[in-house]
């Protein structure tokens, strides 16, 4: 095994199943419906993190102006650090954070403009809430909360966001400036997000979901040095694009085939975590074609916790870790309505690691 290999050596989620990896694993395995009755904007149901109140979870100090997506992120990062990366850090300047987002919090952004438009003066807004309207708020606030002084990057790319965050993280590791990078994505349920998604996708879509999934990534040798057992090796992350929606499957097939080539193991996929969104049929056909007709077992979170949008691919990666990887490779795929596709291959760490 290549000692430079990028491994995931810890993970945590805050999900509609509750706080932490345990409830998420149990909920997925049981196939339990994680959504609850609303209404949430125009939706009747949504996958909401139960009883998630920012001040209750993180304490009252410093949370007065913290919005929901920032709270979900700070809480998840905290759980990940508590479980796997004890503080004080050996070198905080070498701990990075790469966070995926849709558009930050559209609720925070739109509330701010609403205050500006409806107040007595157009500048009668709460200055403490201004940072919530900037999309790197959750990443920046997590850094402040826990003293993460390494690279701090926010990435966005629709349904592919979690895969793009993983790709960004992999390149950042190759640069050699970090010992550990926390990588993941977050999304919140809000009235405005619900309205916007309802109208953007057309009525009739499934329920929305929310939460944050975070992974501790490091090089294999770093994990070993710190006595952490790697849970998965990142073998490949690949992307592509298509013009007409009819070519979505073709683009994803090529993408998966390239990833299998990168991993050097074309016949070894034992688990698949598809996005299962509006392009589900194209996605299934593409996976089938790329795997030569073989149909490995699947793990699907979206029907249970809802469409977590920008966090969806990160939750797919978490679903793979929740399912456990005994052998072979796990494939995560996604297709975004803007014409982009992506996939990742996770491998099991193997004997001797």
């Amino acid at each position: 095994m290549d000692l430079d290999a990028l491994v995931i050596s810890g993970w945590s989620v805050v999900s509609p199943y509750g706080m932490g990896a345990g409830p998420f694993r149990d909920g997925l395995r049981a196939g339990r419906d994680g959504t609850s009755a609303g209404p949430y904007g125009p939706f009747e149901r949504a996958g909401v993190v139960p009883d998630f109140d920012v001040a209750r979870v993180l304490g009252r100090k410093g949370t007065r102006s913290m919005d929901r997506v920032t709270g979900l992120t700070v809480a998840t990062v905290g759980r990940l650090l508590d479980a796997y990366l004890p503080r004080p850090f050996e070198d905080a300047e070498r701990v990075g954070l790469v966070l995926g987002t849709g558009s930050g919090s559209v609720q925070s952004i739109m509330d701010f403009t609403r205050d500006a438009l409806t107040g007595e003066r157009p500048y009668h807004v709460d200055p403490a809430r201004f940072p919530n309207t900037v999309m790197n708020r959750a990443a920046g606030q997590s850094a402040i909360w826990y003293g993460l002084k390494g690279p701090n990057t926010t990435v966005a790319g629709g349904a592919l966001t979690g895969l793009l965050a993983l790709s960004y993280t992999a390149r950042l590791h190759r640069g050699g400036g970090c010992d550990a990078i926390l990588c993941g994505a977050a999304e919140e349920i809000s009235e405005q997000r619900a309205r916007l998604e309802w109208h953007a996708n057309g009525p009739g879509g499934g329920p929305l979901g929310e939460g944050c999934a975070m992974f501790l990534t490091e090089r294999l040798d770093t994990a070993r040095r710190n006595g952490r057992a790697p849970l998965a090796v990142v073998r490949a992350v690949r992307f592509g694009a298509f013009g007409a929606p009819a070519s979505a499957g073709e683009a994803l097939r090529r993408c998966v085939e390239d990833a299998l080539k990168d991993a050097g193991a074309p016949d070894d996929v034992r688990l698949v975590a598809p996005a299962g969104g509006p392009f589900s049929d194209h996605e299934s056909a593409a996976i089938g074609a790329a795997l030569g007709g073989r149909r490995p077992p699947e793990v699907r979170g979206r029907p249970l916790i809802g469409d977590t949008s920008a966090a969806s691919a990160a939750f797919q990666l978490a679903a793979v870790l929740a399912a456990g990887m005994d052998d072979g490779l796990a494939l995560v795929t996604s297709i975004d309505r803007e014409g982009t596709v992506g996939c990742a291959l996770l491998g099991q760490p193997g004997a001797g690691t």
Binding site: D4, A92, E93, T101, G102, S103, V106, I109, M110, T113, A116, L117, T118, P122, Y123, V125, P127, F130, P131, T133, V134, M135, N136, R137, G140, Q141, A143, I144, K149, G150, P151, T153, T154, V155, A156, G157, G158, L160, T161, L164, S167, Y168, R171, L172, G175, G177, R195, L196, W198, H199, A200, G202, F239, A241, G243, A251, E338, G339, T340, G342
Partner: protein, 406 residues
Amino acid sequence: METARRVVITGLGAVTSIGLGVEAFAAGLREGRSGVRPITAFDTAGFAHANGCEVTDFVPEEWIERTDPAELGRASRFSVAAARMALRDARLTDADVRGRASLVSMGTTDGESRDLDDLVAAQVERGSEHVDPALARRIGAGRLSSGIVAELGLTDVEAVTIPTACAAGNYAVGYGFDAVRCGDVDLALCGGADALCRKTFTGFYRLGTIAPDACRPFDRGRQGILTGEGAGVLVMESLGSALARGARIYAEVLGYGLACDAFHPVAPDRDGITRCIRLAHRNAGVRPEDVDLISAHGTGTKANDVTESGAIRQVFGESPPPTVSIKAMIGHTMGAASALSSAACALAIDQGFIPPTINHTEFDPECGLDCVPNEARVADLRIVQNNALAFGGNNAVILFGRYQER
């Protein structure tokens, strides 16, 4: 481990309030043109002052070929147009680009917040359930980069938007550098885009950081920023690729550094900036005395300029190189800011001049920098540094160099 490839800039695209396209932008920088005018993007009644640096002569159809502009928000129109300009400048056809593995990375602060403003205005007027589906479909931040992919018909491509606020342009360029250098892609289209919006103007106004008339970075009488808009895109490729196709090389990307203050949500931190500059120097293999010019973040607020100057002096000692801010000319274009200043750095190296810091009236000993006041300067530039700082303490510094055979 593969040998790291050298990465060069071979095309530039710019949508700015002082000119559209690389030639107009370069001429504007050289002349010290000002993009300042009263804001028309939204109703400014009730604000004591509302100047900005708006792009007023942009007709999307003149630049965008395949996409219906109605499907794009204003920031995405800027983004796609700037990519078109950059490809043309690089003398690359759509077919050339489609045949290569590529990365598209675009930075932004606000994405399509201009559309979100309009959605809120409609809700205030017509009830909070009201949503225009056409606007709802185009607000995702990811579209700043996927819009370029669609316009060019790319298929072998990774498209990512990097919304790391006001340092996002440098983040995006840095990511392109990494992807080309390690051989993952042959070509990278990288930069940043933002559109002027009420939300951001209001936030900065409320913080007391909008200048009443003009932006005066490093000036004793500076009173703040002016919000701006636009987009900058750089075509980056490996040196081998550029030489093989006989491309014009503006500059080489030498390396960059990212660091987080982990200190304050909005205030810059001198020691954090210092650390980021030193990291960038180390990654680029550059010593402070090698740097001929600094393109500063230089927002023109009291706090930013004195803090950034302090960091520069910590690294460079008592006689730092000339340090300019093009924000005096084009305003603070947010996520586009460090992409456009990256383009300015490449132009400065290629054409041998230092863009001036305009609107300068009085030297500020607290900053103590040679900001190249008001008039451009002829200069032989070998290495240029581009600073970018953002909310959340997200700092990014890039080093560019004149291309020389080794």
